[in-house]
Structures are given as C-alpha cells and as structure tokens.
Symmetry: C2
Subunit: 201 residues, 2 copies
C-alpha cells in the first residue's frame, strides 16, 4: 500500500475480533472520507470508555461510578442475585427484561485446565454479599458445561452456611425450536423436567 498510516489503521481494525482485512480497509476509508471530527469523536469515545470505565464495587458489572446503575436502582429486588460468568451474559439477561434482581459477575468459571480456580474469580465478594443476610435467592446463570456445573457445585457448597436458596435457569427445548433438531441431552432433560400445562375449566 501507499501509506503506512492507512496500513496502521487497517491493522488496528483487523486486530478486532470478526473484522477482516477488507472490512478494516472499508472502515479506515470511511473515517478518512468522513471529515476529521468523525474520526476524532470515534477515537475519543473508545478512549474515554477504556480510560474511565470502572467496575461496580458490589457486583463487578461495568460502571461509570463506584456502584453500577443496576445496584444503585431502588426498583430492583435486592434479595435476588443472579450469578453470571461475564458482562456479556449479564447484558443478555438484562436485555430479556425478565429479571428484576441484582447480579454478581464472577469474571469466569472454575477451569483447572486453564489455571482458573476460585481465587481468580469474584467468589469472596459473593460470600460477603450473602453474609449481609439481604440475599434470599442466588440464581446460577452459568453455561451448562463441565466448568459451569463445577462452579455451581462449588458456589453452592460455599453458600451453604448462609440461608439462601440456590436456583438454576430452566433448560429445555428453545421456543420456536423443532423437537427433531434438539440435541438428545436437551430433549431428554426437557422430558424428565416436564411442566404441567394449565387446563381451562
């Protein structure tokens, strides 16, 4: 290419996940053509985010201040805490609009193969929250795999001294999912864990 400056910007975009060389060039040329203030505003938003972002002292969610807007909200049910692996999962649950409690972001799951034990996760702060007696229910919203199940088992044991109910999110065939395409594990569990259908009288 004829410009190292362009090359450098293309490489910066292409280093982001899911962005290839061609897309990176398209984005670079967009910022080049769009007038200087567009690129300045773009870079400024990214820098401000990275430099000033904080993590909630209570639940470890991203936050603009000491505590996140969810923990600060007077409208949330403070006796129900949903344990999630990361902020992406928190956002996915928050986007459903179906959860009115607080969260606790673990920052990962127990995975001995990756060298991640309870010490690397936000477990102590969860136990401190449980120790206040404010929490009545902890909803474990971790992924259904070995690491997730191990973590749920570990956290359940740690939470035993406190008077909290441990729950898990419902597993089953997706809404709109076809039975014949559901995997055997999901379909099998959805039959074992069948739910009553209300009948009209």
């Amino acid at each position: 290419m004829s410009s190292r400056l362009i090359d450098s910007s293309v490489q910066a975009f292409a280093s982001l996940p899911g962005i290839g060389k061609k897309t990176a060039m398209r984005l670079t040329l967009h910022l080049l053509n769009a007038g200087p203030e567009t690129a300045e505003r773009f870079a400024e938003s990214v820098l401000q985010m990275r430099r000033n972002i904080r993590f909630c002292a209570e639940c470890h969610n991203v936050s603009d201040g000491e505590r996140c807007s969810i923990c600060e909200s007077p409208r949330r049910n403070r006796s129900l805490v949903c344990v999630v692996e990361n902020i992406r999962d928190l956002m996915a649950i928050e986007n459903t609009g179906q959860f009115n409690g607080l969260y606790h972001v673990l920052g990962g799951v127990i995975s001995p193969l990756d060298g991640i034990g309870p010490q690397q996760l936000h477990v102590d702060s969860l136990l401190r929250r449980a120790a206040t007696g404010e929490i009545k229910e902890v909803l474990m919203a971790l992924n259904p795999n070995i690491e997730g199940d191990t973590t749920v088992f570990f956290l359940g044991k740690q939470l035993r001294p406190f008077d909290v109910q441990i729950t898990g999110i419902a597993r089953g065939v997706s809404f709109g999912g076809e039975l014949e395409y559901a995997d055997e594990m999901t379909l099998g569990r959805s039959i074992v864990a069948r739910t009553p259908i209300p009948q009209e009288h």
Copy 2:
C-alpha cells in the same frame, strides 16, 4: 445499559458502515477486556491516520508525504496513467499486481443530479500532468454506468489537445462466470468485442 461510557463506545462503533449494535458491543467488550494499552494503541492508530494523512500532490492518492509511494517509485511506468474514481478503486487495481503505471484519483465522477461537475473533480491537475508531455496513455478505469461514461467522454475531449492515447479497461464475462448468469449487456458486448484465440500450429 449500566454504563454511559460503554453506550458511547458502542454507538461510536455502530456508526461505522456495516457494524450493527451487537457487533459494536462485542468490539467494545473486546477492547474493555484486552487491557488498557490495546484500546490506546487502537485509538492512536486511527487518530494518527486521520490527523497525519496527506493526499499526493500529483495523483491525489493517500500519502504519508508530499507525493505517494507509487508516484515516488522509480519502478513505475510514468507514461501510463490510470484514472480512477476513488482510492478504493485504486487499491483494487493495485491489488491485482497487473498495473505498473501511475494513477490519477478523480475524487468522484461527473453527476449533475448530485451537483458534481468537473470543477468538483481533480480534472485540472490531470490536464496539467498531460501537458508535461510525459504521459503517452490514459487508461480510464471508471465504472460502466452513465456517470462513468459521461466522465470518460468529458475527459477524452479535454485530453484531445495533448498527444495521449485514451484506453478503457476490458469489459466482458468474468473469469469463472457462467454465461447463462451474465447480464445481457455484458454478454452482448463480450460477443461484439470478441477476441482472437491463439491457435497452435
């Protein structure tokens, strides 16, 4: 969302062409998780590019200096100039590795409906280059539509006083393209402009 800083970064990414809200969130969380220096380097590359980029005084290609690396190269054929609409087209041709001449970036094509006349394009500088007598051939690599054809016609007339040959890129059925899926115009022209196939003797 729980953070205006995150929102602002997501909006910045989502304002780029072809980036939706979900991708913008994924990119933002990537930069958030990747350590501060990654976001700093990313934003710096974009800012450096936009702040310091220049346009070649000769061909209007993007450049790190007064003249671009193509115009500066002693290995290029200076008697052949390829006229392109924009830098993307220049890069597409450069990537083929089949063109060894110089370029001239018009910065658009004549389009009365969009209020773009020859005054808005880099026509004068092309005529000045032709006036030096160094150029023997001008290859018009504009898109085959009304605006492109109008521009080729206009430039041809303007270049008449100078002793340069005007050529156009070959049109026809793509390599690997199936005849039955080629549009009628392309297929029709490719028959009218048929080329001899060398025979073995």
